[in-house]
Structure formats: C-alpha cells, structure tokens
Symmetry: C2
Subunit: 333 residues, 2 copies
C-alpha cells in the first residue's frame, strides 16, 4: 500500500464533484463532502475517504436517496421525532443534531429521534458539531445485527455506536465508541499486519476467547465491551432509539453491509449556557482533565478526542494521508 498526502481542499472538492455527478445539489454536496473530508483529516480513515466508494454504491443500489432530507413527524416541547426518508446518513445526522442544538437553546435540553435514515459514517462528527456549538452532545445509532448478545453465538445485536461530547476551549472531549470491543474493520487491519489483538476480542469457532483476529472473522463472534455489560447496553440503546423514533430496531435492519438501511438514531443536546457562563462549565472540564493527567509518570493517560485534535492540525498542514489506490479509485468514480 502506497501512501500519499492530499490537501484538505483538494479532497473536499473532488468528493463534492463526484456527489454532484450522483445527483446531489451543490450545497448538499459541499456539506456531505466536508463531513467525509473532516473524518479523514481527523485520522478516522475507515469512515472518511476509505468509506466513500461504499457510500456511492449505496446510492447506486438505492439504499441512499441523495436528495431526501429529514422532515419532522411529531413535536412535543424539547422532544421531536423525525423521518430521515432514507437520505444520506451523514447529512441527516448533521441536520438532526443541529435541530437538537436549536431545541436546547429554547428548552435547555433538546432531543431528536430519527427513523428511516442511513449509516451516519463517523458518529463522532455529530459530537464535534455539538461541542463546537458550545453544548454537550450525546447521540447514538443502531446498526444491522453484527454482534452476538452475551450467551449467544449468532449476531442479534448491533454494535450501536454511542457518542458523548463535551465542549472545551482547549480541545473538546469526544467519545465515539461502538459496543463491540473491535469493529470488523479493526479485525481486518490487525489480520493484515499479522498481529494479534491487544486484548481478547471475541470467540473462535470452538467458543474459546481469542486474540486472533482471523478466528473472530471466521466465527462472526466479536465480543461486546465488558461481556454481558456491553451486551445489555447495546440492547437498551437499540430499544430507546426504536421506541423514540418508531423506526427500525436492529433485528429489522438488513444484515448485509451493502443493504444496511433504515437505521434509527437519537440526538441529545444540553445547553450549558442555560445554567450559567459556559466558561465556568468548560473550566470544570479542564480541571477534570488536569487531574486525570497530572503527574502520570510514564503512564499514558489520554482523553477521548485528544489524539484526533493533534492529527487534525498535522493533516491540515501537511495534507491528509491517503492510500494511493483508494484515492485513485475514488477519483474514477
């Protein structure tokens, strides 16, 4: 694999041109390409440029309706239910987090439940979005079945990523975590470099816990985080998303990567400014991180999002590192 660096603007404009070719209006193409480019720029390659060809396939196969935008179905104060109308998942999620933020400006809290949408690509994007607006953001999505519940051998849960974002002047804290210990993408990466996982990541076909990524790919039995605990968390996140949105639960989402559509999501925003100066709240966050990392000696205590920010600065300066073959593939779309 040969690596090269591509300037932010070049990547974004390239993706926008392709999106317009596939039917996006120029303004939506700009936002959508910006979300993909930001994701690669932040170092989350799996859901940035590297994901783009699959996104285009989902447009071609009809899972993603390029010009559909979400519309409100019900509103009660700070709580709203929206229909994603199978639009592009990242645009839908962005718009619903914007709406949750706006609701939080009026009501202190805002909650938007979104049905009938598509894969949101990097969940962390909507955490950064909330934190950039100075609010606390929490959101999650369900997914197709890709994780066996604790006690079972076949996938009946989604890995249902959960995002929690806290604003700070010196770098937001953005947690973006799926309920499986390792994604299938991560398993493939470890396998490709011939490496064992750093900790047990699933069961082999004999039902033994293993650090061998290929064995888990064969068994299709990745581990939920915390074994029975992540299994319960994944289930309840799915239930809340489906009940609030009246959309699909994991068991209703096609268990096929190329056809995964109709997912349900929840977006929450908490307006810190409603409770006093936002600076005071951000100072609380700063003090927590200072204590977390103080006098840590040789240990390496990071907060979620810390590495992202360093990577972003570097990639804006030097260009975004890409796999040359994927960059070539994308430019030919």
């Amino acid at each position: 694999m040969s690596m090269q660096r591509v300037a932010y603007g070049e990547m974004q404009e390239t993706l926008a041109r392709i999106l317009i070719k596939y039917g996006f209006s120029p303004d939506r193409a700009e936002r959508c390409s910006g979300l993909f480019t930001d994701t690669s720029c932040d170092g989350v390659h799996s859901h940035g440029l590297n994901r783009f060809p699959r996104f285009i396939k989902a447009i071609v196969n009809g899972s993603v309706h390029v010009e559909a935008s979400p519309s409100p179905l019900m509103q009660c104060g700070a709580l709203e239910r929206w229909d994603g109308r199978r639009g592009p998942g990242n645009l839908n999620a962005y718009e619903c987090m914007e709406r949750a933020i706006a609701l939080s400006r009026e009501c202190g809290v805002g909650c938007v439940a979104l049905a009938n949408t598509n894969h949101w690509m990097r969940g962390g994007s909507y955490g950064w979005q909330a934190a950039n607006a100075g609010v606390i953001g929490i959101c999650w999505t369900n997914t197709m079945p890709n994780l066996p519940p604790w006690g079972a051998t076949e996938p009946r849960l989604g890995n249902n990523p959960l995002v929690i974002a806290v604003p700070r002047t010196n770098g937001h804290v953005v947690l973006d975590m799926a309920m499986s210990q390792f994604s299938y993408g991560k398993l493939a990466s470890y396998r490709a470099i011939g490496s064992l996982l750093p900790v047990e990541g699933g069961f082999d076909t004999e039902g033994n816990l293993t650090r061998d990524p290929a064995a888990i790919e064969r068994s299709q039995r990745p581990l939920p985080i915390g074994y029975w605990k992540g299994s319960g968390l994944s289930l309840t996140l799915d239930m809340v998303a489906a009940m609030l949105s009246a959309g699909f639960a994991t068991y209703q989402i096609p268990a096929d990567e190329s056809l995964e559509t109709g997912v349900s999501q929840v977006f929450l925003a908490f307006n810190l400014a409603a409770l006093g100066p936002v600076e005071d709240a951000m100072a609380i966050a700063d003090r927590i991180l200072n204590h977390l990392q103080a006098n840590a000696g040789d240990s390496d205590i990071r907060y979620p999002g810390e590495q992202v920010l360093k990577t972003r600065v570097e990639n804006h300066l030097l260009g975004i590192p890409v796999d040359a073959a994927i960059w070539e593939e994308v430019r030919n779309l």
Copy 2:
C-alpha cells in the same frame, strides 16, 4: 453464613423504625426504608439490607444529613439544576427522578442535574421508578475514585454506574451497570467462595491481567469494561454530571468509602406518551425482546432486569432471604 427469610413488610417496618430513631420524619423513613427493602427484595443484596449499617454510619459521621431534601437552583425549560444538600442519597435521587418525569410530561424530555448528594444505593431503583411511570429513564452518578483509567495504575476514575430503563407491560428492561467489570463487592464475593472470576477482571501487582479476585483487591487495579472504552465512558459521564450540576467531579470526592459524599448525578426522562400511544412503544420493546430470545436453542440470552422480576415475585411470596448475622446487626442499630 446462615440464611433466613424475612417478610417484606417486616423488613420495611424494621428499617423505618431505625431511620426514625436516627432523625428521619415518618414519611421520609417510609420511603427510604421502602427503597432499601425493594433493593433486597429484587435480589441486589449489596445495596439493600447489607448496605444499611454503612448508611447509618454515614448518618452518624455526618456525611448524610437526614432531614435535608434537594432544592432547585436553576431552571431553563426542560433542564434543571438541583442542590442535594447532602441529604440521603436514595431519597434525593428518587425526588430528582420524579422531577425529571414531571418535566418530561410538560416538555417531552426532562433533565435534572443534582449536585452535592450522597450515594444513591441501587441505581436501578430510579430506572424502575421511571419505567413504572411509563417513561424511558436514563440516569447516572459519579463516585469516588475507584478505577484506574486505561494506561494508569492508580484510581483516578469512578465506576460511575449508568442506568437505562425501558417500560413494558410484561416487565421493564432495566440496565444498571458500573463502569468497572467487577465491583469490589463482587471481587470479595468471588474470593470468599474461593472462585476465579469468569473473565479477566483487572491487573495483579505485576501488571498482568488476571481472573484472581484477591490479586485485584491487592493491586487496586480493576478493569474498566472494554478496557480503553469503559475508561473513556466513565470519564465523560463524570464530566457531564459535574458540568451540568456544577457539583463535584470524581477527583473531588473523598476516596474513602465511609466519607464518600458530595457526588453528582444526572436524571433524564423521555415521555413516550408525547409521541403516541405508550402501548405502541411498548409493543416495539416486546418485539425486540422476542427476536432477541427467539429460537435461542441451549443458549441463555437474558435481558437486563429479567432475573430481577422473577426474584422479586419469589421474595414477595416467600420472604426476602437475608444473612441472619446482618439481619441481627441491623435490628440492633
């Protein structure tokens, strides 16, 4: 250890009498003793009767102010900040979840952030409370430092239990999970019966992952669920609780079980009735559980709260099982 069974009413009245002796008004004694008795009746012995002597000690040492009740500090629509005034943690939590539920009836969502409170005993209590009211409940608390962050050897995080509750006609789903894979109470139980943990639960003093509970008690290095993932989740739950409540973060809470006070909590309620008939939402929950457990063969797929309900019914019929020595100790308080 000798086991006996005590009728629900007898336990509740006994605890209420003791609480009145220690300064509770009769109505508060009744609710507080009810929460303790419900917890034991549900089979969560560690935070029910078995915890009661320590609760009384916290009154005697001044950590818990028996007659203090929470008061609102700020309100903005669906978001409120309350001061717990160091009152009894379970009464404070109950009252704040009631308030979040009431807010959700008005605004669709309700959020109460509570500072300056005490250990809420069983977090699941407030999940059952929300689900009994027909709403979705989410709440969490921070705790004293008792969990090393990923990459560190000393406790700088709390185990910060998180509760997610979903109402159903046929038994609510109530997840109640701390961010450590095993609590110190669980480690002690495994050690007492000479058993290894079912999965790795922490590091020994040499820094190796281990299933030996005593080795983890010695090192004080229990594992966060999902390693780095639970570490990040614990941190962000602490940040959100401290920022919304303007109360203590984990690093400010005395790292001594008998002096742990001033914790911060968040209570969220989502009013399903604002979005349509609650029966429709509960039917979504039922279908999810039916698919989760359908044709499971020999596997044992449980949902969170399933076992609790069976235990509750049995203990209401037969009496609540207690350790005779603890029951004797409590009656002598």
